[in-house]
Amino acid sequence: MKPGDTIKVRTKENEFTGILMPNEETDSVIVKLDNGYNIGISPKSIVKKELLKNKPASDTKKETPLKKDPKKKTITVLHTGGTIASKVDYETGGVTAHFTASDLIQLVPEIKDIANIETDLVANMMSEDMNFSDYQKIAKAIQRHAKAGTDGIIIGHGTDTLTYTAAALAFMFEEIDIPVILVGSQRSSDRGSSDAAMNLICAAQFISGIDTSGVYICMHENTDDDSCVILPATKTRKMHTSRRDAFKPVNCGPVARIDYIDRKLELFNDIYKGNKLTIKPELSDKVGLIKTHTNMSTSLFEFATKNYKAIVIEGTGLGHAPTSIGKENLKKYEILKSFIKKGGIVAITSQCIYGRVHPTVYSNLRRLSNIGCIFCEDMLPETAYIKLSWLLGNYSTKETKELLPKNLRGEINFRLDPGDFY
């Protein structure tokens, strides 16, 4: 008997008829009754199990190519996995890899009124499992579709590491001539309250409504279903585990706002428009990210300096690391010092997230600065990690050290606006 079959289960007290459901978590038999409820029956209470009807074969529809409207832009939606735009097969419990244009249009019919839609399944994974090779796969897909003439790309992505991917793509494309918008969803698309459709529609509206290029993120602006914001790829962070408006620009404001009700677009910055596409796709996996804390073990510093070419320190406050007082902490200082001397790179960021690090305010900061630690201004720790990986993948150590504190893709803001902290 397999999931989807109609079965009859007799227990000591009852008899249940329904559809057998998949169950990977417990050993009980889960049956979907006629009234829609699922119940779990313990194997201990089962007297007899009987197959009544095999699972009906699913009708495989042929994909009919969608007609293109020449007056509309063409948007390619790349799917990489995660909650957004994925279809759950409730009978097997798995997320189906079938992700066609018509699937997407069935899910979000409004999108075909905005643009011609093409789709491409690049990956199907939860974003916490992503590796640099996945970024390269996505970048290649972008390149391919850009060459084929698409007007813009939407990437459906799991939210957990969406900002890492956004930063990686922003660095990998040295020049870009189409907009690439990463879109996630904090409520799965199988529920009526999902934010997936609105985030997708707003992203499509942005691509269709303005002539621009570059990598951006499009997510809910607040808890209401009334507007989305376009966020910068290198300065955005997931700041809440579950809210729709979890994605916030850090040390800057959003790029644009799309009103979901009247579909109006509001721009907050001058917008870039490139005219060609060049890519530096290499990423080094010899970079580590360390968060400092009190009572920190020296062995972590030993491990990092032994295994990486570069380390991003997510320090405390203005960029402190526990390297000044006490035998162990002084040992950590010496470890960093000799690491840098031998060509290692140490980037300093802050776990405060908001604000800028500073190399000279306190003597302990100066001690780090003196041995050659590079203070990364107001760069997010995760962005510094991606940037360093990209720099080391494509440039020499010397060039990397020079480029790290320079603003390449909007990752550094040299003037902080008081309104950008909330």
Binding site: E13, N14, M21, E25, T26, S28, I30, K32, L33, D34, N35, G36, Y37, N38, I39, G40, I41, S42, S45, Y90, E91, L107, R187, S189, D190, R191, G192, S193, S194, A197, M198, N222, T223, D224, D225, D226, T241, S242, R243, R244, I261
Partner: protein, 472 residues
């Protein structure tokens, strides 16, 4: 009317709110909260359910494409109600009550309870679905017209309350959203409209027997399913009042009969109970396509949960009469009220004072004090009641002083020494003086003067005997 000949089929569903925290978060179940301080708005989409079909009721609502405005209070709603945080595990106390109710309905508890999402896109559930779990099956109740089956007992969350509505927007209040509900459904075996009322009463009594259900208007709702030969099942929602059940059923029968006489097809619909036995169309009947698993919550294994034994209110009434000599009326009042636990504790410890005195005090004293003194003594705790009964039982506070003592306790000014009895000799002396000073006054007036003098410190019965003796 011959209901059997009519092909009368009728079942009821009872939804009873529970007196616990909300079902899937730690918010208290305050169903009438103060002025809202959280405001947000959402849109909902009809989505294909587990079987890949969009539910008829869901797509009916989606066509309206309305904006839902929500109002909430931080005292009774959190991110969970706002659909901004995943649900917490099912409230254990609510589940216990559900399982207790299942036993009282003679039902069989499911081995492994699965929480489901029932698609609801009319805005009354912020998430777009209502969480519901089938916890027991195949129960029954005994009625005057035979056994009525209770095929399903579910534990679900209450929906938000609609405040206003127009073509473009609907406004809801969230305080009620997530309050646990037990849903008890009978099969279609109810014999006639009056029998439906009897079944609803019996189910209500059983649920109240768990003593952890909410009381008052809106905390229990009845839905009735009715059909006759040639017609189809119609669900009538939102009865607040048991008495109206027979009239509304009779009204629905004649509506279906009229349609059938005109040769029209009766559509399967959900209708709302209006005053005067009428119903109005709400939406098409939802099908099983609207249910899919709530993947955020692990299944619950109820056999791990230990339950206390519960006595039905009806059985309690009988026992109070038999064991403690309460009249039926008083026994019912105590058994139904929250005071029944206090009553049982007090009577267990008492050697002298009897059941009727304790019961009468618990039921009538608060009302009498409110009427006479305009004081609300609901702040008097169970322990304070028990201590007072103990003092009376030990003869340290006279029975007649109980109202006076309760007022003092409520005000925080109770001093048991103030009730130290007046000695018999002292009392006799005082009475003799008063009788002598007022030779012309009748018995009642003398009684009044003496009771006023010893306010609450003496027993009226004793005083009256002494006066009678002295007047001889």
């Amino acid at each position: 009317m011959d209901y059997e000949k009519l092909g009368f089929m009728c079942g009821i569903e009872i939804h009873q709110q529970l007196e616990t925290h909300k079902l899937y978060c730690e918010c208290p179940s305050i169903v009438h909260d103060k002025d809202p301080d959280i405001f947000f708005s959402r849109k909902l989409r009809a989505v294909a359910g587990e079987t890949g079909k969009v539910d008829a009721a869901a797509s009916h609502e989606k066509k309206k494409d309305r904006i839902f405005n929500y109002q909430a209070c931080t005292t009774s709603s959190c991110l969970v109600e706002m659909d901004e945080e995943p649900p917490h595990p099912m409230n254990k106390e609510a589940l216990e009550i559900g399982l207790q109710a299942a036993h009282l309905f003679n039902a069989k508890v499911i081995d492994e309870i699965q929480v489901m999402r029932k698609t609801v896109v009319d805005g009354s559930n912020v998430s777009g679905f209502q969480r519901t779990a089938l916890i027991a099956v195949d129960g029954y109740i005994d009625t005057s017209k035979g056994k009525i089956n209770i095929p399903l007992i579910c534990l679900e969350e209450e929906a938000a309350k609609k405040v206003t509505e127009d073509d473009k927007t609907v406004t809801f209040r969230l305080d009620r959203l997530g309050v646990p509900l037990i849903e008890v459904s009978t099969d279609a075996g109810i014999k006639d409209p009056d029998h439906a009322k009897e079944c609803a009463e019996k189910i209500g009594m059983i649920l109240r027997s768990t003593s952890r259900v909410k009381r008052g208007i809106g905390t229990i709702r009845q839905d009735v399913n009715v059909s006759i030969k040639g017609g189809v099942r119609t669900e009538i929602k939102g009865f607040q009042d048991l008495k109206s059940i027979p009239d509304i059923i009779i009204g629905e029968i004649s509506r279906q009969q009229k349609l059938l006489k005109k040769g029209e097809k009766v559509k399967s619909t959900v209708r709302k109970a209006e005053q005067g036995g009428k119903t109005v169309f709400l939406r098409p009947m939802p099908g099983s396509a609207r249910m899919y698993p709530e993947t955020d919550i692990l299944p619950v294994i109820p056999s791990d949960i230990a339950l206390d034994d519960i006595e039905l209110i009806d059985d309690k009434v009988k026992r109070y009469g038999k064991e403690f000599g309460l009249g039926e009326d008083l026994a019912k009042k105590v058994a139904k009220s929250a005071a029944s636990a206090t009553f049982e504790k007090a009577i267990e410890k008492s050697k002298v004072i009897k059941g009727p005195f304790i019961a009468e005090t618990l039921i009538s004293a608060p009302r009498e004090i409110r009427r006479k003194n305009d004081i609300d003594i609901s702040n008097v705790s169970e322990n304070q009641y028990l201590n007072l009964f103990a003092l009376i039982d030990a003869g340290k506070v006279p029975k007649g002083a109980i109202l006076d003592a309760l007022v003092a306790i409520s005000k925080g000014k109770f001093n048991k020494d103030a009730y130290k009895g007046v000695s018999q000799a002292e009392l006799k002396k005082s009475i003799a003086e008063i009788v002598k000073d007022n030779p012309d006054k009748p018995f009642g007036a003398l009684m009044g003067m003496i009771m006023a003098k010893f306010s609450g410190k003496v027993d009226g019965k004793v005083v009256s005997e002494i006066i009678k003796e002295q007047l001889k």
